[in-house]
C-alpha cells in the first residue's frame, strides 16, 4: 500500500531523516518506535504529504505522494501529535470543519461525524466546547478528526502522549476497533508497551535511521535472552563469586547486580533457573523475593542502539 524508499530530510545542517525505507501493507498496523527527536514525526509528515522529502520518495499504491498530494490526501487521515482542535468551539463544530476540508457536507458529514464521535466515545459530548474536555477526551477527539473522510490509512503521531492510563486504554480500544475495521495504521510512539500491544510490525528509528524493521516476535528473537528473573536477598548482597558462578551457567545470558539482589537474563525458565537458585542457596543467600518476566522491547532497543529509548527508561526496567 505504502512504500517509503530512501527517504531523506534535512533542516539546515541537521539530518532529521536519513535514508529511511520500509513498506506498509494494507490492513497492517506499523509502529514507528524511537526516542524523541529520532525522526518519527518528520517521517510521518512526509508520508502524509505535508513535508516534501529532500531525497527518496513515499508512494501510495504506486503514486508518488508529493506529486499528487491532494488526491492521495483523501485516502489518508493524520492525527497530529499536538492537539489539532479549536478549544473555543464545540466537538461538533470542530468535526464540521475537518469534514468540510475533505469535501463533506450535509447529511453525509453528519453521519460521518456521528460515527467518529461514537467510535471515540464522545457522542454525548458533541455540543460541549473542547476547552471543557479532559486531556484524554481531547486526544480521542483529535483521533476522530482524522476519521471523517473514512481514510484507508491513518497516521497517528504519538496519540497517547500526556494522557492518564485510563484514557490511554480507551484510545487503544479505539485503535483496535479501527484495526478490526480493516484500516491501515501507522503509529509513532516512544512507549514500547504501546507498540507491543498494538502493532503487527515495528520499525525502530534512531538518529533518523531505521535500526530494525520486524514483527514483535522477530525483534525479540534478536535478543539472546527472552526471560528475566529479578531476585532480592534478605539482608545480604551477592558476591562477585556468586555473579561469576551464575554467569558461567549454560542458558544464562547476562547477570547484573541490583540494589537488593541480582537480575538474570536467560533463554528460558527451565534448567538455567533451577541451577541459578542452587548457586544462590549454596552461597548462603536467602531469597526474599523473586519476580519473573520477559525481556522487553526496551532491552531490544538498548541491544540495537546502545542507549535507552527514554530518559530513565532503563532504570524503570531494572
Amino acid at each position: 500500500m505504502l512504500s517509503i524508499s530512501h527517504l531523506q530530510k534535512r533542516f539546515g545542517e541537521r539530518v532529521a531523516v536519513d535514508d529511511v525505507s520500509f513498506e506498509v501493507r494494507a490492513g497492517e498496523t506499523i509502529g514507528l518506535l524511537g526516542p524523541n527527536g529520532a525522526g518519527k514525526t518528520t517521517t510521518l509528515s512526509m508520508m502524509s504529504g505535508i513535508a516534501r522529502p529532500d531525497g527518496g520518495s513515499v508512494s501510495f499504491d504506486g503514486q508518488i505522494v508529493h506529486q499528487d498530494a491532494n488526491h492521495l490526501k483523501m485516502r489518508v487521515g493524520l492525527v497530529p501529535q499536538d492537539l489539532a482542535l479549536y478549544d473555543e468551539l464545540s466537538a461538533w463544530a470542530n468535526l464540521e470543519l475537518f469534514g468540510g476540508l475533505y469535501g463533506l457536507a450535509g447529511a453525509r458529514l453528519a453521519t460521518r461525524a456521528d460515527d467518529a464521535l461514537r467510535l471515540v466515545g464522545l457522542a454525548d459530548r458533541r455540543r460541549d466546547r473542547v476547552k471543557e474536555f479532559s486531556g484524554g477526551m481531547k486526544r480521542r477527539l483529535n483521533i476522530a478528526g482524522a476519521l471523517l473522510h473514512d481514510p484507508e490509512l491513518v497516521l497517528l503521531d504519538e496519540p497517547t502522549v500526556g494522557v492518564d492510563p485510563q484514557s490511554r486504554n480507551a484510545i487503544f480500544e479505539n485503535l483496535e476497533e479501527l484495526k478490526r475495521r480493516g484500516k491501515t495504521l501507522v503509529y509513532t510512539t516512544h512507549y514500547m508497551e504501546e507498540a507491543e500491544r498494538l502493532c503487527d510490525r515495528i520499525v525502530i528509528i534512531d538518529h533518523g535511521k531505521v535500526i530494525a524493521n520486524d514483527t514483535v516476535h522477530g525483534l525479540y528473537r534478536r535478543l539472546p535472552a527472552s526471560r528475566v528473573v529479578a531476585l532480592e536477598f534478605d539482608g545480604a548482597t551477592a558476591t562477585d563469586a556468586v555473579l561469576a558462578g551464575l554467569g558461567a551457567l549454560t542458558g544464562i545470558c547476562a547477570v547484573q547486580r541490583t540494589a537488593a539482589g541480582v537480575r538474570v537474563e536467560m533463554e528460558d525458565f527451565g534448567t538455567p533457573l533451577a541451577r541459578a537458585l542452587e548457586i544462590i542457596a549454596g552461597a548462603g543467600l536467602r531469597v526474599a523475593s523473586l519476580e519473573t518476566g520477559r525481556t522487553s522491547l526496551e532491552d531490544v532497543f538498548i541491544a540495537l542502539t546502545g542507549h535507552a529509548l527514554r530518559d530513565g527508561a532503563k532504570a524503570d526496567a531494572s
Partner: protein
C-alpha cells in the same frame, strides 16, 4: 524582611524583560514614533514647513481692489490660494480639495470703498466652507478682513472713488465695508455636517485594520500548533487556503464595519448623504484590504511574536499618516503628499465623501480603486511569501 528574595525577584523580572528584545524595542520605539509624529505635526522645533490652508478666490469683480486682495491672499504664507470660477470652487470645496472659497462679487471695489465711510449698501462676500474645517474658515475670514480693509482703505484714500472724499468720510467714521455670508458646502444640503462622521471614518478604518492584524496573529499561532498539520494534511492548496482566510477576515471586518456604522448612524446621527453603493463598495474594499494586509504580515512574519511587533508599527504608521487620528490637512505639505500613498488616507477620505460630504459614486471610485489595488498587491505578496511547504 527578606531583601535577598526581593533582589532576586527584581533581577529575575529584569532578566525576563531583557530577554524579549523585540518587545523591549517596541515598548521604546513606539512611544518615540508617536511622540515624534505629533511633535512634528504640531510645529516641531519651528524648522518644519507648516501645511498651508488650501483656499480659492473667485473674483467676479475684477477691480483693482479685488485683484489686490486676491494678490495679498496669494502671498499669505498660511494659505495656498487658487483663482477659480464659482462652479469649480464649489466643486472643490464639496470634494474637500479646497477648504474655503471666497467669492468677491461684482462691483465689490466701488461698493466697499463707498461703504467704508457711509456704512450703507455693503457688498456681500460669500465664504463657501468645508464644514469639517471650521478653524480654517475663521483663519481665512480673519485674513480676508485684514487684507480687505487694507486694500479698500488704500483705494479710498487714493481718492479714486466718487465725490465723498476721505476727509468727509473720516468725520462720519469708518465702518466695515462689506459683510460676509458663510455657506457650509455639502453635496446634499439636507445632510448637515457631523464631526462624528469623520471620527467614525478614522476609527473604523483603524480598528478594522487591527482586526486584520489579529487574524494574522491567529494564523501564525495556528502554524505553531497541531492544527496547522491537520490543515496541511487535508486536500487543500495554498491559494484555496489563503482565499478562504481572506474571505473570512473580510466578512469579519464587514460585520465589525456594519455594527460600528449602525451605532454611528443610530446614536450619533451620522448620515450616508452620498452614494450608498459607493459607501458599501468602500467598506468592502477596506475590509478586503485589511484581510490581505494581515495575510501579508503573516506571510512575512516568521512567528506570532515577531509579527505582532511589525504589525503594531505598520498599523500605527498607516493610521497616523492616513489621517485617522488627526486630519491630514494639518500635516506639513510633504506629509500630506506622503499620506496619499497610504490606503488608510483613501479609506478615510472615501468614507467622508460618502457620508457628510454627500458625494456621488464617482467620488467613491478613486478610493475603491486604491483600496482594491492595495488589497491585490498585499494578496500577491502573501501568496508569493507564504510558507506552505514544510
Amino acid at each position: 524582611m527578606n531583601y535577598l528574595a526581593i533582589r532576586a525577584l527584581i533581577r529575575n523580572d529584569l532578566r525576563i524583560y531583557m530577554t524579549d528584545r523585540r518587545a523591549m524595542m517596541i515598548g521604546v520605539l513606539v512611544p518615540i514614533l508617536i511622540a515624534a509624529f505629533f511633535g512634528y505635526v504640531f510645529g516641531g522645533n519651528g524648522s518644519a514647513e507648516a501645511g498651508k490652508i488650501p483656499i480659492a478666490v473667485v473674483d467676479e469683480d475684477d477691480s483693482d481692489v479685488s485683484r489686490a486682495i486676491a494678490a495679498d491672499l496669494a502671498a499669505e504664507p498660511l494659505l495656498a490660494m487658487q483663482a477659480l470660477d464659482r462652479t469649480e470652487a464649489e466643486r472643490r470645496v464639496r470634494g474637500g480639495k479646497v477648504q474655503v472659497a471666497a467669492i468677491i462679487p461684482k462691483n465689490f471695489g466701488g461698493d466697499a470703498t463707498r461703504a467704508l465711510f457711509s456704512g450703507q449698501t455693503k457688498p456681500q462676500v460669500e465664504l463657501l466652507i468645508d464644514p469639517s474645517q471650521a478653524m480654517s474658515s475663521r483663519v481665512v475670514e480673519g485674513l480676508l478682513a485684514q487684507h480687505g480693509m487694507q486694500e479698500i482703505t488704500k483705494e479710498a484714500f487714493s481718492g479714486a472713488s466718487d465725490g465723498s472724499g476721505p476727509a468727509a468720510g473720516l468725520q462720519r467714521g469708518l465702518s466695515m465695508p462689506y459683510v460676509v455670508a458663510t455657506t457650509k458646502m455639502t453635496s446634499a444640503q439636507k445632510v448637515p455636517y457631523s464631526s462624528y462622521a469623520h471620527s467614525f471614518a478614522g476609527m473604523t478604518t483603524q480598528f478594522i485594520l487591527l482586526a486584520g492584524i489579529d487574524a494574522a496573529i491567529v494564523l501564525l499561532l495556528t502554524r505553531e500548533r497541531g492544527l496547522w498539520q491537520r490543515l496541511r494534511s487535508a486536500p487543500l492548496s495554498k491559494t484555496q487556503f489563503l482565499l478562504a482566510r481572506t474571505l473570512a477576515t473580510t466578512l469579519v471586518g464587514l460585520f465589525q464595519f456594519v455594527l460600528i456604522y449602525a451605532a454611528a448612524i443610530g446614536v450619533f446621527g451620522v448620515r450616508i448623504g452620498g452614494s450608498v453603493i459607493g459607501f458599501a463598495a468602500i467598506a468592502v474594499a477596506l475590509c478586503l484590504l485589511n484581510a490581505t494586509f494581515g495575510l501579508m504580515l503573516a506571510s512575512i512574519g516568521r512567528s506570532a511574536a515577531a509579527t505582532r511587533g511589525i504589525a503594531v508599527i505598520a498599523t500605527l504608521l498607516l493610521v497616523m499618516v492616513g489621517g485617522a487620528w488627526v486630519p491630514s490637512f494639518i500635516f506639513p505639505k510633504w506629509l500630506q503628499q506622503v499620506s496619499l500613498a497610504t490606503p488608510t488616507r483613501w479609506a478615510v477620505d472615501g468614507l467622508d465623501a460618502m457620508t457628510w460630504r454627500s458625494l456621488g459614486l464617482d467620488a467613491a471610485l478613486p478610493p475603491i480603486l486604491v483600496l482594491s489595488g492595495s488589497a491585490l498587491l498585499c494578496l500577491a505578496i502573501a501568496i508569493w511569501q507564504f510558507r506552505w511547504e514544510e
